[in-house]
């Protein structure tokens, strides 16, 4: 099981640590050809504008879409979630536009409004998920094929559509690896 972590900018080191703790082999992705070796890809938190520009400049945008169409699963956290959504409220920044959803950036406010919360997610069992939201986005609207898995303040913060998984928060900043395990199980099917 080889999983890529997009390593252009942001918290890729933490995702690597989480995946390795789950027993996966991890490849840091900076060049398009590196995507040929992986069955799944994590797009980490960071600045979505920075990551999007670097994806275009270094030829990763089209290659990720191609690999997705060939069956590669993708998990996006925070900035990764923004980059996966088709619509971004009042922004024309570069994006992959694969997930049928409308996302709002910095939706809970600026850094001083960033927060931690306990989420109950049936798919991950009875224990709540400790979710860390940092200048986080939320999903305002989803298309018919999108499965909403958790909400905060009535806004979508975990969603799945086929081979795509997104969270508005950062499980990689905690020691709870259930979401990473869930993503790995998406690859096996």
């Amino acid at each position: 099981m080889r999983i890529g972590v997009l390593a252009l900018q942001g918290a890729f080191r933490e995702h690597r640590r989480m995946l390795e703790a789950c027993g996966a082999e991890v490849v840091e992705i900076r060049k398009p050809e590196e995507l040929d070796e992986v069955q799944g890809l994590i797009i980490p938190g960071g600045e979505s504008t920075t990551i999007g520009k670097l994806m275009i400049e270094w030829g990763l945008m089209d290659k990720i879409k191609t690999r997705y169409n060939q069956g590669m699963a993708i998990y996006g956290t925070c900035a990764g979630m923004i980059l996966l959504c088709k619509e971004i409220v009042s922004s024309n920044q570069p994006r992959l536009a694969l997930l049928d959803a409308t996302v709002q950036r910095n939706a809970f406010g600026r850094q001083r409004e960033s927060f931690e919360a306990d989420l109950t997610v049936p798919e991950f069992g009875a224990d709540p998920v400790k979710a860390v939201f940092i200048r986080a986005p939320f999903i305002e609207q989803v298309g018919p094929g999108v499965n909403v898995m958790a909400k905060v303040k009535d806004k979508v913060v975990i969603a799945r559509e086929g081979n795509l998984l997104v969270t508005a928060f950062h499980p990689e900043l905690t020691d709870d690896n259930r979401i990473h395990k869930y993503f790995i199980s998406m690859l096996k099917k």
């Binding site: 390593a7 900018q9 938190g45 504008t49 670097l54 001083r112 409004e113 927060f115 940092i134 200048r135």
Partner: protein
């Protein structure tokens, strides 16, 4: 739901890793920085090179400047407060700044004590020349550390000195038998529990960026290869001949810091770098890195 926890404060720094934070003084410069791929901007009245040239007392920027910059960019906006000036920090927090740099670039307001950063919901970044200084700042609540370098000089030598010092002290600490650790903590004047945590992690407990004197893509890659998590560029972008091109090149160099072919490509045709200052020509009492206790 909890706000302002240390995990949330240090978490934003984690998201900035592998990125470039650029000093800007106008909304136009802020837009240029964002367009070039900066992961955050530092809103200032003057860049360090101009603060150095102007002399006198340097203070927190006018809130109007910070607000106007916050209005035009979607990336995090940082701002500087003077060392020990907790009221400037309160003002910056109320404006909604995303990070406060308690910075030696400004004239210190307290000659003995730094701000108690635990008191704030907004996270702080502080400069450090060595491990003891870094851990004292973290003990006071800093959620991010940067090298001090010598700001506004375009000369990377001091930043190199500081990251090498921190990394070498961490390696030394990891090789000490446990009974020698408390004495090591005393000698570097750092809290023992943070020394123990650093020893266990093999790195600082928070993100550590490079700052002070970075002027070229190669400088940025050098600091990354020496172990920094990301880059602050102060005067290096907007005091150069072609800020847009140089800013983009430094962003790419910070991502591809281990790839000399990419570094060669992005280093081409950047125009004039900022004019540098040899450190030995700066009188000791004018060196900003000596500020901080």
């Amino acid at each position: 739901m909890q706000q302002g926890t240390f995990r949330v404060k240090a978490g934003l720094a984690e998201m900035l890793k592998g990125g470039v934070i650029m000093d800007v003084t106008t909304p136009e410069q802020a837009k240029i920085a964002e367009e070039a791929g900066a992961c955050a901007v530092m809103a200032l009245e003057r860049v360090p090179a101009d603060i150095r040239a102007a002399g006198g007392v340097a203070r927190m920027a006018d809130p109007t400047i910070i607000q106007r910059i916050m209005e035009v960019v979607s990336i995090p906006v940082m701002a500087k407060a003077r060392i020990g000036h907790f009221v400037e920090a309160q003002i910056l927090e109320s404006l909604g700044a995303d990070y406060i740099d308690e910075s030696e670039v400004l004239t210190p307001a307290d000659d003995k004590y730094h701000i108690n950063k635990h008191n704030f919901k907004v996270p702080f970044v502080c400069g450090a020349k060595n491990l003891g200084e870094a851990l004292r700042r973290i003990g006071e609540g800093a959620a991010m550390i940067r090298t001090k370098g010598e700001p506004g000089t375009g000369n990377v030598v001091e930043a190199v000195k500081h990251i090498r010092m921190v990394m070498s002290e961490i390696r030394m600490l990891q090789n000490l038998p446990i009974e020698e650790v408390s004495s090591f903590a005393k000698n570097i004047a750092a809290p023992l529990e943070l020394v123990l945590e650093t020893r266990k992690l093999g790195r600082l407990p928070v993100v550590n960026f490079a700052a002070g004197g970075i002027a070229t893509p190669a400088d940025a890659a050098l600091m990354m290869q020496l172990g920094c998590d990301g880059i602050f560029v102060g005067s290096g972008v907007f005091k150069s001949g072609d800020p847009v091109k140089r800013a983009k090149a430094i962003v790419s160099a910070t991502t591809y810091y281990n790839d000399p072919k990419v570094l060669a490509e992005v280093s081409k045709d950047l125009g004039e770098a900022m004019i540098g200052i040899e450190i030995s020509t700066i009188p000791a009492n004018e060196r900003m890195q000596e500020r901080g206790w």
